[in-house]
Structures are given as C-alpha cells and as structure tokens.
Symmetry: C2
C-alpha cells in the first residue's frame, strides 16, 4: 500500500464517527459537529455518545461499534481517561484511523498522562493509525473535513499544505490564509504525535499531487534526524518552510507542557537543517509572508532586486533591509541611470538602485516607466516597489500631490502590467500607516487594492522589511536548487 | 550664550521668512505656506519672492532684506544655484538661522553640488546658523512651526524629540505618531548637515526641558566619535533611541546619494555604540514601537516577564520571542502554579510561564485573575498579555466562546486595572488578523480599544515579537542605568 492510499481514510474519509458528540454547541463535541456541518463535510457523520439520541438531525449511536457501516475515521473528544476504551472499541469496529482531540496526556508532565498515552500507542498497534492526541486533526477542503474552530475556513482547495504540531496555529494559519490568498490542500494538527508523526505526514505531503508548497510548525519532532533527511529529499521538488519553535530555554519548557515533546537545542537544529534545503522561519508572520511569496514568485527568482520607493531615508532603509536578509541591490549602469534621469526630476531623487522618487507618492506614469526601465535590466531578478497608497487614499498629502481622477486605478495597474509583459516578479509594499480610527477608510481601500494585487499574483506586504525577507527565502531556495 | 537660548530662534521663531514663497499650493513654496497657516504658526510669516505681490493675504517681499523687522528664521526654498545669494541676503539682514529645504547639493555626488554646499558653509561663518540643506527643517508644536507636509501633525506638545537626517522619515514619524499616542517636543529634519549637525542638535535636546525621550534616524554623522561620546553622556538622563541606517554596502551607497554623507561600516558602529547606552533599532517600525514603550514603561522595567496568552503554540512562540530579544520568562513557583490551576481548566492549558489558557479568547474574569496572580509574583517585572480581540469583535469564534454582553468592555478593563493597582507595567498584544475587507469592522473596534489602552498608558502591539522587542529595549536601558 502506498502512502497516498494509506492516508486516504484520514484525508478523504467517507464515514466519520464523532465520539463524544454533544447537542450543546458550546461544548467541543457540539461545536465540532456544527463546524463540520457548516463547512460541508462530504462524507457521512455518525455522532457517538451513550447519553443522547439525536444531534443536528443525526441519530446518536451509543458506541462506535453500533454504527451500521464501516468507519474510515474517528474523531475522539471524550475525556482522557475514557480514550483507551473508546479506542479499543474503534479497533473492534475496524475503524482505520482516529484523530484524538482530547488533551491531558504526555503534555501534562504527569505520570497518569504519560501512562494513558502509552496505552494509546499499544492499542494502536492492533491496527488503527492515530493522529494526536491533543490535536485538532485534519482540515481538507476537498473532502469537507475541517477543524473544530474551522466552520468558516476557505472551502476551495489550493496548493499549500500546513503541518502543525500546534492546533492553535493550524487554526490561525487556516483562518488568516483567506486574506492572503492562500488556499490549502491539507492542514494537519498532529499534537503529541504518539503514532503518526511529522515524518509520516511529510512523507505523505511529498507524494500528494495536491500539494506544491509545504509549511511546517513543529516543536519536538519524534525523530529529528530522520525528519531532516526527509526534508532534504522533499526540498528537491517542493519547498518546505519550517518554523521550529521552542529553541530557547523558556521555549523548550513551554514545548514540554504543550505537546509533551523535547524540543532540542538551537545549535543542534541549526546544524541539522543546514544544507537540508529547508526554509527556516521564526514566526507565524514570517511563515505566512514566505508562503505567499512561494505562491507567486517563479523559480527564476534570484537575489538581485531593484527597489523603487519615495521619500527620504526610504532608499537607504530599503537597501539595508534587502542586504540584511541576503538580497543584493546592484547599482544601475550609466545607461539605465540616464534613462531614469529622463523620468525623474533631478533634485531630491536618486537614480541608482534603490530608485528614490523624492516623495512617498509615485505618480502612475512615473511608476510605470521606472518599473519598465528596471525590468529591462538583465542583472535584476525581482522588482520591489513601495507606494504610499494610504496617503493617496486618505488624501493626507493631497495639497502636495494631485491624486484625483484615475490616479488610484492607474497606480494599481502598472505593477500588474509589468509583471505580465516582462515576466519578472513584482512585489508591492503598501504601508498600513497610522492605526487611527479615522484612517479606516483608507485602510479599506488599501485592503481592496491588496486583494487585487494578490489575485494578480503580485505579493503585497505592509513593510519593506517583510517583503525583502520573503523574497530572500524564495531566492535562496531556487538558487540552491539551480 | 547657552544651548537653549542659542537655539531659541530655530525652534521658537517670532518671525519667519519663507524665501521662495509661491501662491501655487502644488509648488513647495505654496504648500509650505499653507501648511504653516493650517497648522497654526504662532509667529509672523514673511513670504519672499521677487515675482509676487501677495499670498494667503500676506504681503510678498521681493527680498529678505526688505522685511521691516528683525527675522529669526528663514526657510529657503529657491533652486540650488540661487541659495548662496539668498543666504548672503539673510546674513546682510541679520537673520539668525536658516533652514534650507532646497536639494541639489553634496548629495548629488557632482562637483557643482559639492561646490555650492561649500559656499553655504563659508557664508554661514559670517553669522548665521544653517539647518540642511536638503531637509524639511523643524516641527515644533509649541511654536506652531511645522514641516512642508505637516499641516495635520499633532498640535499638542509631548516629551519625544526626533532628530532625523531624513525629511521623509521626519514627516512619516510625526504623522504616524498620532495613532500611537506619541507627541513631540521637537522634530528636526537636518539633511546634509553642512553647519548644524547631529552633535549640535543632540546637545540641545539633552538640555531641552521639554524633551524626555530622544529618537534619532541618522545616515552619516559628521563626527561619529564625538556624537557617540555625547550619546554616552545624554543616555544617563534621557534614553537615546538610534536608528543608524546605511550600514550595508547598498545602504551606504544610498546614503551617499541621499544626504551626501559617509555612513561608515557596521562593525565600526557596533563597536562605537557598544557601552554608549544608546538603544539601537533597525527600522521605523522598531523606532516607533520602542518610543511607545519608553513613553509608558517605568524605570523599574526589568527583563523578567510573565506572558499570558491562549491557543496552542502561542506559549512556545511567546517564550521564544521573549528570550530571543533578551527577556527572561521565569517559571512560576509551585504556589503560583497552584493558584493558576484554580483559575484555569486542567486540560489543554499551561500554568507555567507563559500561561496558556488553551484558546485565543481569554474570558475577562480569567484574564483579571491571571494578571492579578502574575502581578503578585516578585520576580516578574512586566506582564505581556495577548487577547484575540479581532476574533471577539468579528464573532469568528462565537459558537465556541460566548462573548456577548459586557465581554468586550470587561476584557478591556483588566489590564488597565492591574497596572493601576499593582504598579506593574502591562503590555497588550492585539493581533490584526486577516487583512480582509470583511474584517474591517473588527479592525475598527480593535483600533478603538488600542487607543483606549494607549490613553491609559498601556502599550499595545500587533504581535508578541514586537511587544517583546520593545520591552527588551526599555529593560536594557534601565538595567544599565541601575
């Protein structure tokens, strides 16, 4: 049996038993059922609870063994001390796999929790695969399976897989994804990983034809060496973006009480990951930013960037930010400078790279011409342009810059147009600016424009630092591969 | 003459000549006049231009020498080749200082620009002090002086001074400040610094009783060693937050074309700043974050933090983020854990430090009790709490968490209450969440709550990473002083 068919009952279950189901939506067992229903699970749901008779119009079964047809997947939500018995019932029923939501196992640090978890492992040897315990399980839009808090996750599938030891982050990433244009093949929250672990899931995702980009949040892998060897293999065909948390002392302590794992030392992990091809990130923000960049930037993405911005120190800061993360900002040749000189006014601007137009608002025609010029430069791989859309939209500087008429619409067009015509990636920086309530209308406009760019395959970030960091990750990955 | 009276005509001019004034608001000379008027300059404005007769109801003078009373400050906006003559007129008139907005000097990298700038320096020796050229000059709410793009800057004064070699950043910081509750004593954009430079201004700000916190953006100081020696002195009484840009190769190139300065090498600067007491930052975001932290955190702020959050990996990530920037997250004693155990449900939570409540939404009563418990711990200096206000306000998780009634109002109160009662600083993390248009209503609520916290002296950041970084800077400063 290959990996894909082995995991079929987990990601595409035709029948799902929810053990510990409840008619009370404020309880986990009720919330999960409602989530599944609202999200649109495509298989059949069998609620199991010895106490009830019906929930959401579905017949309640006292025991999983009473379900009148084969069960692919069980979702177990009963209190920890009852999980072993429930799991034994699952084995008796021939359930293929179970995701154990329940917490209170090894992560408690207490003898009783450890003992319970060992019991699960023993029972699993009798023929059932386990996800968790202490996890949310699987979100897979194609089969309509979702996490407890995932009734409103995107219903469309996409090329990104997220493998997360944390349920909280599995939920957060899935939810935030929507606004970033990220769509998923599978999201897996695998918690304590007492049976199936990061190596198993990564092996599956490597083969999964629905997955093109793999993002990982992990605390304590079960077998770090094997995992890293696998990452090295997988990275050859799919980028593996890894946030390995718990590398500080306090972080390691938190790991132990969160997923009952050992997180290992930072130096050990740095050494392990080096040369593995893994893309290392250090926060949820960086994980999302980098995923967005991999979604839209082509394999030709290299380290050499042209930066276009306006307003004082921005060119200095942009150059610093780019080089700081390993990008290079090669100076333009005299010919290119001459071309730029004909586009920009002479005083208060800079025609080297970065290009500084002298003010935070770049007129559309000027933006178009600068991007065209920069895109034509052979030793430039990526264009990064900053536009103070929040000032344009709020009219903050309207007495200095005439942004009336089709200014906004024309501004939006240039980067998309250049990307299409030159085949060179363009990355936009649209600052959020002041977080005052009175700036909310401008923020609405900025978010709309952001969505337009993302739809057109142009990544958008709120700061140059974040844009540079994301581009650098992509460049690093493809240059290694090249 | 002491520093304060020497700089009186620059920051509190009673008469201001705007040389290169214009009736056209789209031109710099017109925009600046309008800015001054709208902002409410408290002195007398004398527009100077040989071509006009009147602007904004003010008589236009053909030459600064024609102004019928003494002139404290001249703002010069004529094209570069005309600046020397205009400056000579200023000297003849006895003008005390001039801020030269005009660009096209040393920063062009061309012989003509360098020659022109040298000419300015020579003329200045005849008895006028210069700010710039290639700068915006001074924003000082107390005197109503503002920058060209600063018609809408905060009119109230405050304890923060910003010394910026970049005009763009001087404007950006001043404008963004509003939404962060930052108010200024003085903002100084000093550009090429051909006469008055960073050492002069820092010396003034050190003595200025209106200034309590000094923020600096600099590219190429005229006299780095002297500057750092001065920083060492000033740091003893006022925090000096410094963003030294242009430390990468590309950054240094950009510096040269931006303010015609030499930026120096990173290692040299690191060595210079070490032990100087300067608080080093690396972006506008970090500069603002840190300033906000200094505004509200007391001198008792130390490195030992308690972190309260919810939802999976958040406690691990929080611990990592804190230790990564040099904070410590000491584990709670058995007694404290026992207290927390009575507040939190047993499964899926953690009562060590960080405290993980198990979900992203923390009920108000639970937040109150956890904060009280953590605030009572002697070896904890600062409390950092995360609340997923964006989920509460958008109702994203309302089927799992009952957030109706006074949930939001009660949530807001606890951190403010604890800060007041225990005298221990509380820092809030309110994530922005998805940047979708449909989340704008929640964002409005978040911004309102954010403003409430800032008003109450509770710093707010959108991510734990940013909160930790800002707190670490303040702790580092006061621990050095201690």
């Amino acid at each position: 049996m290959n990996k894909l068919s082995e995991f079929e009952p987990i990601f595409y279950p035709k029948t799902l038993a929810v053990i510990g189901a409840s008619a009370d939506e404020r309880k986990f067992g009720g919330g999960f059922l409602r989530s599944l229903r609202e999200f649109g699970f495509k298989g059949k749901i069998y609620p199991v609870n010895p106490k009830g008779t019906e929930v959401l119009g579905l017949k309640m079964y006292p025991n999983v063994r009473d379900i009148p047809e084969p069960v692919d997947l069980a979702h177990i939500m009963v209190p920890a001390p009852f999980v072993p018995q429930v799991l034994q019932d699952c084995v008796a029923k021939g359930v293929k796999a179970a995701q154990i939501f329940t917490a209170g196992f090894k992560e408690t640090g207490e003898e009783e929790g450890r003992r319970l978890e060992e019991e699960l492992v023993k029972i699993a040897r009798n023929g059932i695969r386990l996800i968790g315990p202490n996890c949310f399980g699987v979100y897979c839009p194609a089969s309509g399976l979702t996490l407890l808090p995932g009734y409103d996750f995107p219903k469309e599938s996409g090329p990104v897989a997220f493998l997360s030891q944390s349920g909280g982050y599995a939920a957060e990433f899935s939810r935030e994804a929507k606004g970033w244009g990220i769509r998923f093949s599978k999201v897996i929250s695998y918690g304590n990983a007492c049976d199936l672990n990061e190596v198993d899931f990564l092996g599956y995702l490597a083969e999964d034809p629905e997955t093109r980009i793999i993002a990982v949040y992990m605390e304590g892998p079960k077998d770090g060496q094997r995992f890293v060897r696998l990452v090295r293999e997988v990275s050859k065909t799919k980028p593996v973006i890894i946030w390995k948390a718990g590398l500080t002392q306090a972080g390691a302590r938190a790991v132990s009480s969160h997923t009952g794992s050992l997180s290992g030392e930072e130096a050990t992990w740095d050494a392990l990951f080096k040369q593995s091809g893994a893309i290392r990130v250090r926060s949820m923000e960086e994980l999302i930013d980098t995923t967005v960049a991999f979604l839209h930037l082509p394999p030709t993405t290299g380290h050499r960037v042209a930066v276009i911005g306006g307003g004082g120190g921005i060119s200095v800061a942009a150059a610093d930010a780019c080089e700081h993360v390993g990008l290079s900002v090669p100076p333009f040749s005299p010919e290119i400078r001459q071309q730029l000189r004909s586009i920009l006014p002479p005083a208060g601007t800079s025609i080297r790279n970065p290009v500084d137009v002298g003010g935070p608002i770049i007129p559309p025609q000027m933006m178009q011409e600068i991007l065209e010029t920069a895109a034509s430069v052979e030793n430039i791989d990526v264009l990064i342009a900053t536009q103070a859309m929040h000032y344009i939209l709020s009219g903050k500087l309207s007495f200095l810059f005439d942004t009336s008429g089709s200014f906004v619409q024309d501004s939006i067009r240039a980067p998309i147009d250049i990307k299409r015509r030159f085949g060179k990636p363009v990355v936009m920086v649209l600052p959020v600016g002041s977080e005052e309530v009175e700036m909310l209308d401008a923020e609405r406009g900025r978010r709309e424009i952001r969505a337009t760019y993302l739809d057109a395959g142009v990544p958008v970030y709120p700061t140059l630092e974040r844009a540079a960091r994301a581009v650098a990750h992509v460049a690093e990955y493809y240059q290694k591969e090249a």
